[in-house]
Amino acid sequence: MIRQVSIFIENHEGRLNNVLKILAENKINIRSLNIADATDFGIVRLILQETEKGIEVLKKNDIITTVTPVLAAEISDDPGGLSTLVDALTQAKINIVYAYSFLPKKTDNAIIIIRVDDEVQQKAIDTLEKVAEINLLDRETLLLK
């Protein structure tokens, strides 16, 4: 299970920068970034090299953060790679709440971060572990990639 840091920001200029600067000043590396936006606000989802320290400095700066468990799946970076992953979850009737790409530095494979509903998380893990083409990553392995 991967610990993703989710952050609430208002949807106007400067707000994202504020978050990024705090992390930069504290030398916390961002391994992946995803932004979901509504009309007035957005949610920034980050995988950080140092999760605990990141949360601490963000909270100290009055930024609302929460930790969300997500899955990281390594798949081949070829046509059909992602389809295999989504297909497996669909067969198991597991809904994907959201998904985005993680940018690995040391592999040619693709890594997808997936958020499913909490109650089906274990089922998702079990499902994906059975698929040969998919390699589910734990936190340490992901951050080494």
């Binding site: 609430f8 509504a38 989802r45 609302i64 709440v97």
Partner: protein
């Protein structure tokens, strides 16, 4: 034109004699029938007999909206419920409304005063009055309705909203007088213009507008766009409802019906009575009401009393157009909104003391309310739909409790301005 010339044009000396006689009787009744007032008199060491002149009113205790709330619902009524024929209510400072009861005589008095108002604004038995004030617990609709019936005019009880129908009825029924909030009048004018209907083709000649603050500029705008004369009316449910004061054809201040109400202007800080002409908070004493007589009610409305005789011939004092409020109550589309009401909704949902800000804007002709709420960690979710649901829950709760449609925006913690630790709760960007 007058409805009741002998009272409306009564020489001031005679009017004051009448006021004193009625005030004494009223003070006597509340002292004996309402424990709340008796206690207040005793705290000040006063007896009903201490009221010997009209000036003595200045020594008597005030009544506030909080007093009405503390005695919710019927605590300040002076008669048993069997003598009450109608109950109205307006929104209070918390979830509980302010309740007022009317005896048969009260309804009759209200109808009489409202009839005077309609005549002052040029209406008569031949008028067709389209009453677009809301009917219900709010006093606006029924107040105008009973006055129009007393006058013998034809009243159309269409109530608020449904603009297309309002326009159809205006065209087909030949309405000559329109009664609604000023902001709705402007909205109607805009819809008429969009529909390509020339107001001159309608029979509407006058409008009686109140229940929210408006300005001389808005009057000019309404008069030009609807091709009518626009009159300001004042009232509040705690005192009676619409018809406490009205503009006459001179359109220069609103005559307060002094044979039933005594107006005073006080400094809202020192609570001292101010001389005529000075701006302060309007305080009203009802001297004839039976169901719930109110002594020196602090209206929180800021105005001045104009003592000069009016060219119309009425001798009753005028108050100037309302200048604002001495508390943080907002009037949005005719609905009273207190920041504390919003606060209790937020408290209920978030279970922590919320930081919020109310932003009122005038969007075209309609007032809009935005509620900015600082999000707390406990309510945060990393799913957009959960946060949108949270906004919706707050919006729905406010709609059902206060009756106002608000936009709810979640904002970051500590992003709202604070002064002395408390947020600046209200930003009113309306230019009226």
């Amino acid at each position: 034109m007058y409805w009741n010339k002998s009272y409306e044009c009564m020489p001031r000396e005679k009017l004051q004699e009448l006021q004193l006689e009625r005030l004494k009787r009223m003070v006597n009744r509340i002292y004996h029938d309402v424990p709340f007032y008796r206690n207040k008199f005793q705290e000040k060491g006063l007896l009903p007999e201490d009221v010997k002149t009209l000036e003595d009113l200045q020594n008597l205790p005030f009544t506030t909206k909080v007093d009405l709330r503390d005695n919710y619902p019927y605590g300040l009524f002076t008669v048993p419920l069997e003598q009450i024929v109608r109950i109205h209510a307006s929104s209070g400072t918390t979830g509980k409304p302010t309740v007022v009861g009317y005896t048969r005589n009260d309804i009759s008095m209200w109808s009489e005063l409202m009839a005077r108002c309609l005549v002052a604004a040029g209406a008569g038995p031949h008028s067709v009055i389209q009453n677009a004030y809301g009917y219900g617990l709010f006093t606006g609709g029924l107040g105008v309705h009973y006055g129009a019936e007393r006058l013998g005019a034809s009243i159309i009880p269409i109530s608020g909203g449904n603009t297309a129908k309002q326009i159809m009825i205006m065209q087909d029924f030949g309405s000559t007088v329109l009664t609604c909030t000023p902001s709705y009048a402007i909205y109607l004018a805009e819809v008429l213009a969009e529909s390509g209907i020339d107001p001159a083709s309608l029979k509407i000649r006058a409008g009686i507008f109140g229940a929210e603050p408006w300005s001389e500029n808005i009057r000019k705008d309404i008069e030009k766009k609807l091709k009518i004369k626009a009159y300001d009316i004042y009232g509040l449910s705690e005192i009676m409802g619409p018809g406490v004061a009205i503009e006459c054809e001179c359109q220069d201040g609103l005559h307060v019906w002094e044979d039933h109400f005594i107006p005073e202007i006080i400094d809202p800080v020192t609570l001292k009575v101010l001389p005529y002409g000075e701006q302060g908070e309007l305080v009203i004493t009802t001297i004839t009401k039976e169901g719930i007589p109110i002594l020196r009610y602090r209206t929180r409305d800021i105005t001045t009393i104009k003592p000069e005789p009016c060219a119309c011939g009425r001798t009753h004092l005028r108050i100037s157009r309302l200048q604002g409020r001495s508390d943080d109550m907002l009037i949005i589309r005719g609905v009273n909104v207190f920041p504390t009401q919003i606060e209790s909704v937020l408290l209920e949902i978030g279970e922590v003391e919320p930081h919020y800000q109310l932003v009122v804007r005038r969007d075209g002709s309609l007032d809009t309310l935005e509620i900015k709420v600082e999000l707390s960690e406990a309510l945060f979710s990393d799913r957009i739909s959960n946060l949108e649901n949270l906004e919706k829950r707050i919006r729905d709760r406010i709609q059902s409790i206060i009756g106002v449609n608000a936009k709810v925006s979640l904002v970051e913690p500590k992003s709202l301005p604070r002064s002395e630790g408390k947020s600046q709760r209200v930003v009113d960007l309306r230019e009226i």
